[in-house]
């Protein structure tokens, strides 16, 4: 060895030692994983022990990029730019299955692994990885740095290594297209071949189920039906049998009149547009001749490319579905409109409900249905240069069926310039156009606020969403009814099993499945735990947004205690996926009661501590009172739900108005606050923590005994123990786990009150083992659409308070 190399060994060791204990990770979160990454910073895990203490807000100050979460195609160009803007040398940790390889999101909008666009040093497996795994990832990176030889690079000599140097993966050569990993060659992924919706002799057809559950309509609905019939005659037709709410078919040209009548004249008035979406009917098995279907029919049985599927009659090409809600008395109503043609056109209803704007843009983007008269009909969620309409049945669902997304794609597909979103001049005054997000500490996720600033004043604001679009509605059409449950956990990733509940209620309503009382109680208890989980994180981050750092340290401490209980009961943390069709995955474990009681006692005291810090704090009040005011009328018009609606003074909670899962058995209040400002939203949420504790306490003390799974084994997965004893259980276990249960043909919409508001699942079944259409009515979508109303003409600093107080979460907005 030469003398100078001997010298370099010493300097290498010194430099590496300094580097590996002083990381500067960038504040960069993509999705669920970031929650666990940020938990690694809090007191229990204390990342600072490993020399990576403070997350830096900008790439200029960072040398470590942790890609925590899903790599969205819309976000990939931004990730690449942020990486390029980091100084040398720099390292990359890929955190979580999505970032490693696409994970469970093999879907059109997701890049199948960050290593196709960036070099990666360390991969952390898990979905999401636990905070301990983040610590281990960091230690592994430290080990890796020990092997680097930086001195020569630093002294501008040849040789030497520092930072990430691994080449990025090349699709088809170093990167497998099979997201399940190696060894599956020749086995088609589930959902593409086994039983696609168009597979006419699906084995599910051999299974018999009773017809969909039917309800008896309320007198009120019957009299309204009579009035509608008199007024609109043949243009409106009531669906004779329905599983969830009164349903009408309306002819296309009269729908706007009907909607207007329902909103302004009918009794009760249907004031809120709950949801607007569409269904592509082209793959219906009993309606369309298959020649009308031009999608990629992979495994169609037949000759000469012609299908052997029988022609059974003609239906519409698309169905538009409007869900309306009346507040007083509480009621729901569904309107369906059949549309014909590949690119149908219909009328906009943005002049009736301003909130229809985003819904119509989404429907336009996903189905290619045009809305005549819409003021701004362009893509909402996918990148502006995207081609095709993903929720059409012929559109490939999987990313692995599409052209691979590579480094070159990330360079090519740049996001739309901010100037296209906002006005750039106000009178003579030029405005400063500023992007806030998608990577920003204050935006709480991948959301892009485009601002036009006149000094500190927000003269114009527009939102660019879709950076977190995981195509979950498309996935719902290929995963079996059971397999879809884990995807629901990730829709509102702070909501955990509460998401399972929204989805399962729809399926159970449709199939008429009775859930045993014990299971209902456990469902309620866990849902309330996750409400507290969300509100604790919200409390810390919201206070942080307006300048109070302390609460984060306290609320995350209690949250960890809560997570311990969730782990004790379900075995998971963020995404337990623990509810099942007809009940629960298993019974409560030993020792749950003691843990729950202890938590209720502790948190009840600690809320007092939190409030002592914040509620009367003059700085906090100055930042929140009178800021971001939303009037009750606007809130109702725009479909705002949850704590944000209650902060406008309306006592409205689905748990009370449409009780589900036995909520009618519990004593609790609906907290409200007047004013509709950030402070009112704060007050409502803090009180909600208390009310949730009350519910948990009651559920724990009155927990009934008995089974936690319905005995209707047609839908339920039987207990594993029973499968070893009797053949019936074994058969049902085998069928329901592999092929999945068949859900009768029909449709159902149910909504639950999750921590952010009303989350509804509209499931449409064509009588198969997977949904024909899976629509998620997300509270965040409506809550966020109204934000420009609150932020416009306010100060830039107030926007941060508004964002924090609205409490949105990105996968719930973009889905």
């Amino acid at each position: 060895m030469r003398a100078e190399d001997l010298l370099f060994t010493r300097t290498d060791a010194l430099i590496n030692w300094a580097r590996k204990y002083s990381f500067w990770p960038m504040f960069f979160g993509l999705s669920c994983c970031f929650i666990e990454e940020s938990v690694a910073l809090t007191s229990r895990y204390d990342l600072s022990r490993f020399g990576a203490e403070v997350l830096r807000g900008s790439p200029r100050q960072s040398d470590l990029l942790i890609t925590s979460g899903t790599i969205f195609k819309k976000m990939a160009p931004a990730i690449l730019r942020l990486y390029e803007q980091m100084p040398e040398p720099k390292w990359v940790i890929s955190m979580g299955s999505c970032s490693n390889c696409g994970g469970m999101y093999d879907v059109y909008s997701v890049v199948q692994g960050i290593d196709q666009i960036l070099p990666v040093d360390v991969y952390i497996p898990g979905c999401p990885p636990r905070p301990e795994a983040v610590l281990e990832g960091l230690i592994l990176l430290q080990e890796k740095i020990r092997s680097e030889r930086p001195s020569r690079s630093i002294l501008h000599l040849s040789g030497g290594t520092q930072g990430s140097r691994r080449p990025i993966l090349v699709d088809g050569i170093t990167k497998s297209r099979d997201s399940r990993g190696p060894g599956y060659l020749g086995t088609l992924p589930r959902g593409t071949s086994e039983t696609p919706p168009w597979f006419w002799d699906s084995r599910s057809d051999l299974m018999w189920t009773p017809p969909a559950h039917r309800i008896e309509l309320h007198e009120r609905d019957k009299s309204l039906a009579q009035i509608l019939k008199e007024k609109f005659g043949d243009a409106i037709r009531q669906t004779p049998e329905t599983s969830d709410m009164v349903t009408y078919h309306v002819t296309g040209n009269r729908v706007k009149e009907v909607l207007k009548f329902l909103k302004t004249e009918a009794s009760p008035k249907y004031l809120r547009l709950d949801d607007l979406t569409a269904i592509d009917e082209s793959a219906r098995r009993d309606q369309k001749p298959v020649s009308h279907y031009d999608g990629t029919v992979v495994n169609e049985i037949g000759q000469n490319g012609k299908s052997a599927r029988p022609d059974k009659g003609i239906g519409p090409d698309y169905t538009l579905v409007y869900h309306l809600l009346s507040f007083d008395p509480p009621g729901r109503l569904r309107l369906k409109v059949g549309l014909t043609g590949r690119e149908p056109v219909t009328q906009t209803i943005t002049d009736l409900w301003p909130s229809a704007s985003w819904y119509e843009r989404e429907t336009y983007e996903m189905f290619g249905i045009r809305f005549e008269g819409h003021p701004d009909l362009r893509r909402l969620i996918l990148p502006h240069d995207w081609e095709g309409h993903p929720l059409r049945k012929g559109y490939p669902g999987r990313a692995t069926e599409m052209t691979p997304y590579t480094h070159a794609s990330a360079v090519e597909h740049q996001p739309l310039d901010a100037g296209a979103f906002v006005k750039q001049k106000e009178g003579d005054q030029e405005l400063l156009v500023l992007n806030m997000g998608p990577q920003h500490v204050g935006t709480h996720g991948l959301m892009r606020f485009v601002l036009a600033l006149d000094g500190e004043r927000i003269a114009d604001i527009n939102l660019d969403i879709g950076y977190h679009h995981r195509g979950v509605e498309k996935i719902g059409e290929r995963q079996s009814w059971h397999q879809f449950i884990p995807y629901t956990d990730r829709v509102d990733y702070m909501g955990g099993v509460a998401n399972n509940l929204s989805y399962l209620l729809s399926v159970e309503t449709l199939a008429g499945i009775e859930v045993p009382e014990r299971a209902q109680f456990v469902r309620v208890m866990l849902s309330e735990f996750f409400r507290i989980n969300n509100h604790l994180v919200w409390f810390g981050t919201f206070c942080h947004d307006v300048g109070a750092m302390t609460p984060t340290f306290y609320t995350f401490r209690e949250r960890e205690q809560l997570m311990d209980i969730v782990e004790l009961i379900t075995g998971g943390r963020l995404h337990p996926a623990w509810f099942r069709i007809g009940g629960l995955a298993m019974d409560l474990p030993e020792g749950w009661k003691e843990a729950v009681d202890a938590f209720v006692k502790v948190l009840r005291e600690r809320i007092g501590d939190y409030e002592a810090l914040i509620t009367k704090n003059p700085i906090f009040r100055a930042r929140t009172q009178g800021v971001g005011v939303l009037s009750l009328k606007d809130a109702m018009e725009w479909g705002v739900t949850g704590p944000n609606l209650r902060a406008c003074g309306l006592e409205w909670d689905v748990r009370k108005k449409f009780p589900y899962s036995g909520y009618e058995n519990f004593n609790f209040d609906i907290p409200t606050a007047p004013g509709g400002d950030c402070y009112a939203r704060y007050l409502v949420r803090v009180e909600e923590i208390r009310q949730s504790l009350r519910i948990i306490e009651q559920a724990a003390s009155q927990m009934p005994g008995g089974s936690v799974m319905t005995d209707d084994t047609r839908y339920a997965v039987p207990d594993k123990k029973d499968t070893l004893k009797d053949i019936e259980s074994l058969i049902h276990h085998f069928i329901n786990v592999t092929r999945g249960p068949k859900i009768p043909k029909g449709e159902a919409y149910t909504a639950t009150e999750i921590s952010r508001g009303e989350q509804g699942y509209y499931v449409v079944s064509d009588g198969l083992n997977m949904a024909y259409r899976m629509r998620i009515r997300a509270p965040g979508f409506a809550n966020v659409q109204v934000m420009p109303l609150m932020a416009k003409d306010g100060l830039l600093s107030d926007l941060l308070a508004i964002i924090g107080s609205i409490d949105y979460i990105l996968p719930d907005i973009d889905r």
Partner: protein
């Protein structure tokens, strides 16, 4: 000769030289040792991962700047007042009258700025106090 060195010019000079040399060495080391890759994206202004829109060089209303300037003016004035306060006994009533005159003119300035709206943030939002 001895009198010339008395106040310690040599030490001062040495000190100044050392400071300059150290700063120079540090700046040189930073710029030479650090790895540099001047790619196109690297040179671009950072704006939350997006490509910045338009130019930042235009007439831009900056209330912060106004407040900073006003602060500077009144800050410099404070220096005079402190100087007067230290010598209060020596200056006597004449000094007192002079400083009152000085402060009055300053106050006129403040009221003028106030009246002109120089202390407003130019926002249309009305916020309850």
């Amino acid at each position: 000769m001895e009198a010339f060195w008395k106040p310690g010019i040599l030490t001062l000079g040495l000190y100044a030289g050392l400071v300059l040399a150290l700063t120079g060495v540090l700046l040189f080391l930073c710029s030479w040792l650090g790895e540099k890759r001047g790619t196109h994206e690297k040179q671009r202004a950072y704006e939350c991962g997006m490509i910045p829109s338009g130019s930042a060089r235009f007439r831009y209303p900056v209330p912060f700047y106004l407040v900073a300037i006003f602060f500077l003016i009144f800050d410099v004035e404070a220096a005079f007042i402190f100087a007067w306060a230290v010598a209060f006994n020596e200056l006597g009533w004449t000094g007192w009258l002079q400083i009152v005159f000085f402060i009055t003119i300053l106050l006129f300035g403040l009221f003028y700025i106030w009246g002109k709206g120089g202390l407003d943030w130019r926002t249309k939002v009305s916020r309850p106090s």
